[in-house]
Symmetry: C3
Subunit: 345 residues, 3 copies
């Protein structure tokens, strides 16, 4: 594919600086770009790289100084402009096969929408309903009485357990399990007797879920993933968790049972939440934190146990100097003893 | 299905308060219940919810005050009574298919018991022996010379590696791997040369294992999971680990090689154990802890590094006030200097 | 199989002490060994076990005192010698099936080398190229335009996403995902819009990767795993990470985007790295550490946040004694107040 820089600028609502007729045939990172490539600089820290790039053109924010050697698209949001152009030059749904593969095992009672792809060796059980334009790669398992919306993409080896509901344009990466049983037992004479987990998982529109994630079904009712929330690899979401809209859950986070995340929450990598907590809207928990109690909205927390980040940093700074303070304390002890001795004289 | 409250009370050995003839057609959580539902209150904290429930009946422990508006079953263990009733109203083994699916690839040398279900596209290799009444969902991989007991349930996409042995009534959720190689290398001239992992995994009766768990085979002999132990999602159990009876291993726990867990140990979420430790019977490690050394029986540990919980809490309380103590220390320093100056006068 | 002790000694370049004609028919750990077994002692701590073993022979390092009852092979590296002998007595590639299984779904455009095994129900898409002598167990998914080298072993249910490249002699355990999308979004009016992840994963020769690992493809270019690096179960490697040669990445480690690990780095279990860090060659990060900034070569770091281990230990020792220091501080406060009062008199 070949586009002129001017055509691409129109597409993203940017303004061309320099030759609008330069031909773009691909996209690349700023350091590895070569002739024909379009690249981008979103951060003034990398402005100097823009001087040396071998790209044929650059997307840059208005505040970045350019040498003028390389034509550019000025854009208020270069990352976004670049993302949109990238999806033109690259096939972002990396399909090898389209249609219903003959090796798929699809129950006659399943309801498959129009323009659906079902890859090789995928199983779809009875009662499942698959919306139009959804792509289910090979070796997925779609259990009975599930419902998938329109325009979803399920990569190979995703399993969706019985009765789970999934909205529109949901993307799920390889190896992820939606709807395994919640971890609930009641102890009877020293034996852990299972508490039936009879709820479901309900995933709303525009959610993306990474690889090898586990999301447990509710004890009753639903574990809920709100619209537009994005979940990274190897995350654990326990039964009855409710996640709001547009949250960001980074890799290896663990969310215990019945937690509530309000909208726009960010949990950084390896964060752990105790059960039954509420994380208020727009709050951020920094990576590695262990959260023992609820967090108010619009907060940034860090630490083990987590506390407001400024406080956590102040505490941590003191902790790092603690051996010094201990030395001061011991000196004081001797000085005070000496003073006491002198006053006794 | 429809049962009277009296029939259900008999089933769980409870006593009816109010109308024993009320018809129950389903079960539900206390807040979301509606007419026809049976619900439960196990904790006095939620007693007020019982006043407002729209359920047709409640299971409650004897110490919970009820309004009398709603008929009830009094039970010493409402959670357990409820769990048992739940399994009547809901199909807890969510089978779509029964019998041997024609698309399964089963080696002629495999030995399959009576009344076994093997779902679509499951592979069972030669030398595998599957006990009576076991359900293996679709897309599982049962490698050669494995042995599964009676009444097991393996959800889709479980893999059981060669020579692994699994007892009776074991439940394994989707994506879990039993018997991958232990992580063992010996360094030779800067190269990591693999140490063969020739042992097995031995899972005893009544174990339940969550989704996307990994349990490594022993270097020699066996990695052992004791009877009645329950393991949550995304847990790592390394080679040669021995876990006792009725342990609870919460999500994302990592247990390093050759650790021993005695009976009834509880490891909360994201706990990590160093190698070759013994965790004594009935001990609890609180969530997020990093355990560098063995723990005696009947202990509760917490922290990074983990220590007895009371001590850990005392240390943590001091740490949180450390900026204050530093201020006090600095004031003292000045006061002592002033005292010294005055005494020199 | 049966070998004399002398034959085995020749094989590993060791020296026989005692009867070189003793017949060895198997190998075992020192405590569980029985007649016919060869066992080993690599550590002087376990020398006393060597006195009591029922093994027919022992491999031991030169510094370990033996009773003379049991014949032995003296070897400078008993672990290595044992590993090599183990691979003779045990089948380390646990194959049930060889050749191309008829149930595999292989695109006609895929290029399959000589002496390749493809297990049942594996999918290989068009454009994939599989090197000679590679074994792909059943139920794997090899996406389009991937390249696998020679002599690789992929256990069941591995997925290799489109365009990923894998070198020679690479071993990947069950459930691992290579090439899922990196976790990258740009926020537009409160919505997280996906940044296309158009790079690949490039795995070099002699890498081994455990079970249920996730390695994301780069935004551009490559996520790289260097030659001879070994990765344990449930590890997360984000987009654009570059890992050097012969690194050891233990279970449940999380490596954030664009990190660089130089050669011979060791990350112990559950370590987390923030994004864009460099971990210098030969450095070690102890288990459970959270690493917020880069680490120089030849260092050992520990803690949350991680710092040089000696410093971290000193800080931790002070922290553990903090309640004591607080007591001392309070005593001093009273003593100083008393001194001040006396001087005011």
């Amino acid at each position: 594919m070949k586009k002129t820089l001017g055509e691409l600028a129109d597409l993203v609502g940017g303004e061309v600086v320099g030759d609008a007729q330069v031909a773009i045939t691909g996209i690349s990172g700023i350091e590895e770009a070569s002739a024909g490539d379009l690249t981008f600089v979103a951060n003034a820290r990398y402005a100097n790289l823009a001087q040396d790039t071998r790209a044929s053109a650059i997307i840059a924010s208005p505040d970045i100084k350019l040498s003028g050697k390389t034509p550019a698209i000025r854009s208020a949001n270069p990352s976004l402009a670049f993302a949109r152009i990238a999806s033109i030059f690259h096939d972002t749904a990396p399909l090898y096969f389209q249609g219903i593969h003959p090796s798929a095992v699809i129950a006659p009672e399943a309801v498959i929408g129009r323009n659906v792809t079902v890859g090789p060796l995928t199983v779809i059980e009875g009662g499942a309903r698959i919306g139009d334009d959804t792509v289910i790669f090979g070796q997925c398992y779609i259990a009975r009485d599930t419902e998938l919306g329109q325009g979803c993409v399920l990569y190979p080896q995703v399993t969706v357990r019985e009765r789970v509901t999934i909205g529109n344009r949901v993307v799920i990466h390889n190896g992820t399990v939606i709807g395994s049983d919640g971890f609930g037992y009641v102890q009877v004479d020293g034996i852990h007797e299972k508490i039936p987990q009879i709820g479901i998982v309900d995933i709303h529109d525009d959610v993306e879920i990474g690889a090898n994630v586990t999301i447990d079904r509710a004890r009753f009712k639903s574990t809920v993933i709100g619209q537009g929330t994005k979940i990274d690899n190897l995350v654990q979401i326990a039964h009855n968790v409710h996640i709001g809209k547009n949250c960001i859950i980074c890799s290896q986070v663990g969310i215990s049972g019945s937690c509530i995340l309000e909208d726009n929450v960010i949990l950084a990598g390896q964060v752990g939440l105790a059960g039954h907590l509420t994380i208020g809207a727009n709050s951020i928990v920094a990576s590695g934190s262990g959260v023992p109690s609820s967090i108010p909205p619009n907060s940034t927390y860090w630490g083990f146990p987590a506390k407001p980040q400024q406080e956590a940093r102040r505490v941590n700074a003191s902790v790092q100097r603690l051996p010094h303070y201990v030395k001061v304390l011991n000196e004081l002890k001797h000085k005070v003893a000496a003073l006491e001795a002198r006053l006794k004289e």
